[in-house]
Amino acid sequence: MNFLTPTGMTRRHFMSHLAGSGAAATAALTFGHSLRAHADELKKNRKSAILLWMSGGPSTMDIWDLKPGAPTGGPFQPISTAGSMQICEHMPLTAKVMDRLSIIRSMSTREADHDRGRYYMHTGYTPNPNIEHPSYGAVLAHELVDQRPELNIPPFISVGGGSEGPGFLGMAWAPFVVNSNGQVRNLDMGMDEKRLMQRMVALRMIETGFIEQNRGSAAKDHAEILNKTLNLMTSPQMEAFKVNKEPQEVQDRYGTDGFGRGCLMARRLVESGVPFVEVDYGGWDNHANIFNTLSQGPQAKLPIIDKAMSALVEDLTQRGLLQDTAIIWMGEFSRTPRINGNTGRDHWARSWSVVAGGAGMKGGLAIGATNSDGTSVETEPYTSQDVMASVCKALGISLETTFTSKSGRPMKIANGGKVIKELFA
């Protein structure tokens, strides 16, 4: 819907009327943004993060930490890069921007099941039946959104995949999931705003009545989502989703597949002030036929990430945004050094790589090392918590930040992970 602002009035002013009207003036129903009244007093932090999530668990020893000649090495050859490390020959464009990204080659984790690995790498915590931890996007959005009072679209956006949930922070911090075409369904109400706002008054009354019956937090969470939805429906910032507004040349540079479009959208969203964007790219669960899947044919995975990732780094650099934007490339785990009978690799978490850069994290480095056949880590092992702690540091978020779960249990951000010092040396 093209939501015109009533004459002589800012949208926010208009909203504030609604918030106070219709028997809906409880704290639960005040508009999200009015809670951020003091935002201007806070120190501005314009930093953002983009997580390139490789769902399924990519074989990092075929991409970032090659072992040519080793029995486990596979057929790919290493090439030199603009950084001090070598990477896979099927990543030539990315090789040119590796001066701005670093590879952490001594990741060593324990979760080699998809669900558990996805949870662990997104939260820094292993799954626990009694509590749900908030994921990267929820945590970072939660910490950074107060400093962007002008942001009307969700602070945690996941493109092309579901990411991981907001845990105990509540559904208001859940990822806003869009497909890589940037089409957000059901945005158009086909009705004038006067009538919509009148409907909202009635809705808020029912909503508040139910909340006040003290039946549990789900009732209030629902109301918060309504607020966010209304914000979103009326925001010109929705333009950021429209990747097809970019010049064709730019779209081609990223690649017109889902991942390319997702990375381009991530750049647009970050430019609009969204603190956390995840771009999901699945299909890395290569139990069979791995080398062809990675390198052969139009759907080959490495050329696709090569294009998109390098274009993203270049664009962010050109726009002066890389210094404020962390990029993290990772999956839930990696794949066995041993090549199985189906020319595939199975799940492996003991020794693998994650890539990170931007937002002040040093580029061009290979941090840590695995042994000659890639089966173990030879230097200090790093974990999901350590990556998360490093990203938090890069984004200027204190590692002393503590969340209180609904049960009152204090939980440290990044689960007490330690900063990977080489990234900041």
Binding site: P6, G56, F210, R215, K228, S405
Partner: protein, 593 residues
């Protein structure tokens, strides 16, 4: 009261378009009368007062919840209560009749009650009326289709996922799966029989195939990579044993060894699937058994061994052994040993099967199982009510796995009857969202599933009376549901839904086609009929609230409705449309409470 006044104070600065019609009306019409009664914010809407009455007439004494003369219900009540006492908490009062009625319709047949059904229940003063309603929903032929549809939906999602049978390359025939389930639930097939059939099925996946057996759809796409998925999903769904990690290594939290996975896996090695049709068409395949030669060289079917690799690269071997250690013949010849048939027998004799189903059903009705996840009964995962879980499993077996008995016990239990209102100092600590194990001292809020919302909207708009065939409706529903499904891009077909109380869902309910249809006012639509009927305007509002929320509107809600009527310049249908839109978008509508 105070709040209404503060609204009025805000009106003067209403250059807003909103204020023009609506708030002036509020200040003019509403407030004068408002003085005489407390507002919704003072916590006593009409719905509330009704509830208070219910409490006083049926004193829910802590010690004497009704058990309807059924021993299992009495035992459930005792066990649940014991945990309250141990934790020094007290239960919430019972839910009102209308709340309970809405709850039980939603949980048993997958949709809210119609206005007629609700009124019929409330009109009954019979002390057995709850038991009668449960019996009616379970046994009256008028509800057989909806009962079967609801449980078919639930079990289709468990067995093949929300995406099963919808991909281009699939062998799964979703309709075939549903047909099997629907027949089974409609006939109230004993659960052990269903499990046996699902585990041992052979035949065609597509309805219409000569040897059609819809149960084959469970396993037909789970046989890749030496049936790793068949192994993991069968163990998880029917035994509550999560063995997927042990495919590659010993379990991190318990003493299950990789060996166990491959011993369990060996049961599936005589099984294969085959695509059918000239163009290997979607959803058309066959699941069959054949002799298994084993993986040894030379092949030795009489001693059909399989091999797997340990993490250290060492090669190990295994033969079919059930999780309790029972060994069966090592022969791969079908004529000597049909491994899946043996597995089916072993599963249906396992107490784990009984427990995981009791746990699943408890979770379905109470929102939380005794363990989380509900299909993980492993030794590392302590249940919240171990004795009750064991008891329900035993009793489920005792009644020959009659699902309707289990449903009856749970829906008529005290825990299920309680209000979702939390009572300060009594039970506000009982909140599983706080990471505590559930104590079931009040009903836990949960959002309707997408399918429940879909069906409930049909009922709320009385469109269910003129629906098409089961298959047509399921296809339409599946199309609609696809917008919410996100695949994770793994070989295990992991998936999530955005129908989870987030913005996409809210947008769908604000503006989506389904809601547009539900709030349509053109000739012949539900709202048109209500608007055109010759009942009083107040009764129309009443009707809409009852249709969607199963309760009467409060005084304040009436006033808003009046204001909307003025804002719509007397166009009754348009005002009803606004009200119904608001009602359907509310937390109270979509949250099972």
């Amino acid at each position: 009261m105070k709040r209404m006044q503060s609204n009025v104070r805000r009106v003067p600065c209403g250059r807003t378009l909103v204020a023009a019609g609506l708030f002036l009306t509020l200040s003019g019409v509403g407030l004068a009368q408002n003085e005489s009664r407390p507002s919704a914010s003072a916590n006593s809407s009409t719905a509330d007062s009704k509830e208070v009455k219910a409490e006083t007439t049926r004193k829910p004494s802590f010690s004497a919840a009704p058990s309807y003369g059924i021993a299992q219900i009495q035992k459930i009540n005792e066990e649940v209560r014991r945990v309250w006492v141990d934790n020094q908490i007290a239960p919430s009062p019972p839910a009102s009749d209308v709340e309970w009625c809405r709850r039980v319709y939603l949980d048993v047949i997958g949709r809210i009650p119609s206005v007629d059904e609700l009124r019929a229940f409330v009109a009954s003063r019979d002390s057995d009326r709850k038991a009668k309603l449960v019996n009616k929903l379970l046994t009256d032929e008028a509800y057989t289709d909806e009962y079967a549809r609801n449980w078919t939906t639930i079990w289709t999602n468990i067995l093949i996922g929300r995406n099963g049978g919808l991909d281009n390359n699939t062998m799964i025939n979703r309709e075939g799966m549903q047909k099997y389930l629907r027949d089974s639930f409609a006939r109230n097939k004993p659960y052990d029989r269903m499990v046996y059939e699902l585990v041992t099925a052979t035949g065609g996946t597509a309805p219409g195939a000569e040897d059609f057996n819809g149960a084959t759809n469970f396993l037909v796409m789970k046989l890749d990579e030496n049936a790793a998925q068949a192994t993991a999903m069968t163990a998880k769904i029917f035994l509550g044993l999560q063995v997927q990690c042990t495919q590659c290594h010993n379990h991190p939290f318990n003493d299950w060894k990789q060996q166990k996975f491959w011993e369990f896996n060996a049961f599936f090695r005589q099984t294969r699937s085959q695509r059918l049709g000239m163009r290997r068409e979607m959803g058309n395949a066959k699941l069959m058994n054949q002799d298994f030669p084993g993986e040894g060289t030379p092949a030795n079917p009489a001693e059909a061994i399989i091999y797997y690799e340990e993490r250290n690269g060492e090669l190990r071997s295994s033969f079919p052994v059930f999780v309790d250690g029972t060994e069966i013949s090592r022969s791969g010849y079908l004529s000597e040993c049909d491994r899946r048939t043996e597995l089916g027998k072993l599963i249906v004799s396992s107490p784990y099967m009984d427990k995981v189903m009791a746990n699943r059903m408890w979770q379905h009705f109470l929102g939380y199982g005794f363990t989380k996840p509900v299909d993980d009964l492993g030794p590392h995962n302590n249940p919240s009510h171990p004795a009750l879980l064991d008891y329900l499993g035993e009793q489920f077996r005792y009644v020959s796995h009659d699902l309707k008995e289990l449903i009856k016990w749970i829906t008529l239990s005290e825990a299920y009857s309680l209000s979702s209102r939390i009572v300060k100092t009594k039970n506000d600590k009982d909140d599983p969202l706080l990471g505590e194990q559930p104590k079931f001292s009040h009903f836990y809020l949960r959002q309707m599933r997408a399918e429940e919302l879909y069906e409930s909207l049909l009922v709320a708009t009385e469109a269910h009376k003129t629906r098409g065939t089961f298959e047509e409706v399921e296809r339409q529903k599946a199309d609609w549901l696809r917008q919410f499904t996100i695949a994770f891009g793994t070989d295990e077909g992991d998936e999530a839904t955005t129908f989870n109380g987030t913005i996409p869902q809210a947008l769908m309910l604000f503006n989506g086609d389904l809601i547009k249809k539900a709030t349509d006012v053109s000739n012949g639509s539900f709202l048109h009929r209500v608007a055109a009927s010759n009942i009083k305007p107040e009764a129309k509002i009443d009707y809409l609230f009852n249709a969607a929320l199963s309760r009467d509107p409060t005084k304040d809600e009436f006033k808003i409705a009046n204001a909307l009527l003025v804002a719509r310049k007397g166009d009754g249908a348009a005002a009803l449309q606004d009200i119904f839109w608001a009602v359907l978008n509310s937390n109270e509508f979509i949250i099972q409470h």
